[in-house]
């Protein structure tokens, strides 16, 4: 609804816990979808149910998933960051070039993190200093610029020859658990805490809901925006480290299209693109939905184009249903289910 032209959303805080309302949440629907996908996958391929195979499959998409939580914060703000894939490319390329120029590998890794942080910081700084610019415009521009810089550094070449221990990031295991899964779990836990249990998290939701009101309530909107975009860049670099480790090399063209997948995972998780709404649980569920769906379909050799269509359709549904909420709430079925 609009209040003097400012779009706001009712934040319901004083509702009694209702079982019916709990089960109608988008996250619960995601659980159903995830369970459904698993049941389908188990039944279509005997190779799905192998523990080792699933762990290998996780290694394939968890590197992308590391960017989902910072992206979630960005989208909760009501912004977007499409430059993450380019930041990945620039960080990866600089890490490779530095290592091959004689810099010790651990320093090269830190350098990659620094590059990512700077890229994110630049995004945030531009947005904060030039408030008329929207995040879409700024990050589309930096998307082109960052990858362009990577191309200037490396032209069409590749950089690699990393020490053999570097493979551990993308391929290593701690006992039976892939290293990247352990990293993901820890990162998810930290972000879940930050988003749902800290004042910082509450403020992010407030800004996403109504940035003007938040600013006038004393919330440091600019500072929070700057921090979040910097985090987005930092974790793009983290992702780049894992991806480079998985491929054993880095190129200016690496990670093309990754930003779309990350945003898709966030949006599918129920995080609204207009900001201020969403739950970490949803994001986590949607990561596994997209990743395991792609894997399961690929395992039975569904053509790549068909997989694209299926995932795309899932995304459309994810975006359409919350926006159809008013439409749905008028139907008799809904009224019957949520009788006050």
């Amino acid at each position: 609804m609009t209040n003097n032209g400012i779009i706001t959303r009712e934040i319901k805080t004083d509702q009694k816990f209702s079982l019916k309302r709990f089960f109608l949440k988008w996250e619960w629907m995601l659980v159903v979808i995830l369970v459904g996908i698993n049941i389908m996958n188990f039944n279509t391929s005997v190779n799905y149910g192998d523990y080792n195979n699933i762990m290998e499959a996780l290694k394939m998409f968890l590197d992308k998933a590391l960017m989902v939580f910072p992206m979630m914060l960005v989208i909760l703000l009501g912004d977007i960051d499409v430059s993450v894939a380019s930041t990945m490319a620039l960080s990866g390329v600089i890490m490779g070039v530095a290592y091959n120029a004689g810099v010790p590998m651990p320093i090269a890794i830190l350098l990659a993190l620094l590059v990512g942080t700077i890229c994110g910081f630049v995004n945030g700084l531009i947005l904060v200093k030039f408030k008329e610019l929207s995040a879409v415009i700024v990050t589309i521009s930096t998307m082109i610029i960052y990858r362009g810089i990577a191309s200037i550094i490396l032209a069409d070449g590749a950089t690699g020859n990393f020490p053999s221990w570097f493979q551990y990031f993308g391929w290593g295991q701690i006992g039976n658990i892939p290293f990247i899964l352990a990293f993901f779990i820890i990162e998810a836990a930290i972000f879940a805490y930050i988003i749902h249990k800290t004042k910082f998290g509450r403020r992010v939701y407030a800004i996403g809901n109504n940035s003007t009101t938040s600013r006038f309530s004393g919330i440091k909107v600019d500072k929070i925006r700057l921090i979040i975009f910097t985090l987005s860049g930092l974790f793009a670099a983290v992702s780049a480290i894992f991806l480079t480790s998985k491929m054993g090399s880095a190129r200016p063209s690496m990670a093309k299209g990754y930003e779309m997948d990350v945003i898709a995972m966030v949006v599918l998780g129920g995080i609204s693109t207009s900001g201020g709404k969403g739950n970490v649980v949803g994001a986590i569920l949607s990561i596994f939905i997209v990743g395991l769906l792609r894997y399961g379909l690929g395992l039975i050799n569904v053509p790549s184009q068909t997989i694209m269509i299926i995932v795309g359709a899932l995304l459309v549904v994810a975006v359409a249903i919350p926006n159809m909420k008013d439409f749905i709430s008028e139907t008799k079925l809904y009224k019957m289910l949520v009788k006050k």
Partner: protein, 350 residues
Amino acid sequence: MKKLLALVMAGMLSLTVLTGCTTGTKTTTKDNGTKTETANTKGVYALVAKDVNNPYMKKMYEGFETACKEIGAEPLYKGPDQATPEKQIEIINQLVAQKVALIAIAANDADALEPALKNAMTKGIKVISLDSAVNKNSRMVHIQQADPEKIGRGLVQAAYEMVKGKGGIAILSATAQATNQNLWIKWMKQEISENADKYKDTPLVKVAYGDDDPTKSTNETTALLANPDVKVIIAPTTVGMLAGGKVLQDKKSSVLLTGLGLPSEMAPFIEDGVCPWMYLWNPIDIGYLAAYSGEALIKGTITGKEGDKLTAGKLGEKAVTVAADGGTEIKLGDPFKFDKTNISTWKTVY
């Protein structure tokens, strides 16, 4: 209450993942796991294309499929919707999980697939590359269509003859990291630099990348035409050839075209003179040879080292030789010239 429900949800989630999970000993079977599969003792041979819609890749698969049927193996065609190495890594992983017998891959990047392919090889899968090679550590043997040196030099010499020694040469390539492209371009540049006198009026003006995407290739060609120095375009990629030919024909340009094109696609352009002649080899034969090479590796007839010999069905005896990158390869033959005299015969073949 909420927390209890959350815990119950998490528990149910884990339960669905664990049901059906088989850990511990698992005998290695050669089936690809689908319930609709008929019993096949020879295993699944998978061809991984650069991208799934590429017509050249599909032609290779035709030969691959024919050979698999002769051998008694089950053929499988896979490819990403976009020509990136990241997506090929996902596909390789899925094939490893399916326990295929052979992976024959046309690589989008020579080095980026190394960890994934090495992983496949440690699991007992035979790995070969075709069309666009992976580096020597990532494969057992590469199926080489024709000598890259002959291709590179031959194309430049053809371009020189077409413009009668006067006019700039431009190259319309595929993706910047495709191994085969870079190798051919390297030989093209070397032909020019080693014979600087001969080529002094036909310099290399520009190398453009069409990414094997029809739209981008069309745009790059149009951009090349805007350059008055360009008098002939070499497109060592069938997608680039088709896009370039269309642009030149539509604009009735005097710029000429040569390169590596599919006869079925390029027939109209050869017939009307936009492309006086071009080269290729039979991609169907490459796929065919790849499947037989894979079978030889699986049976143990060859191990991929220099000197090994195998019989590739109707192609006869082939030998494993040393490749330019230090690994080994099996050569199909020499490039074949298509011009007005023979295009009508070949355009129906492939």
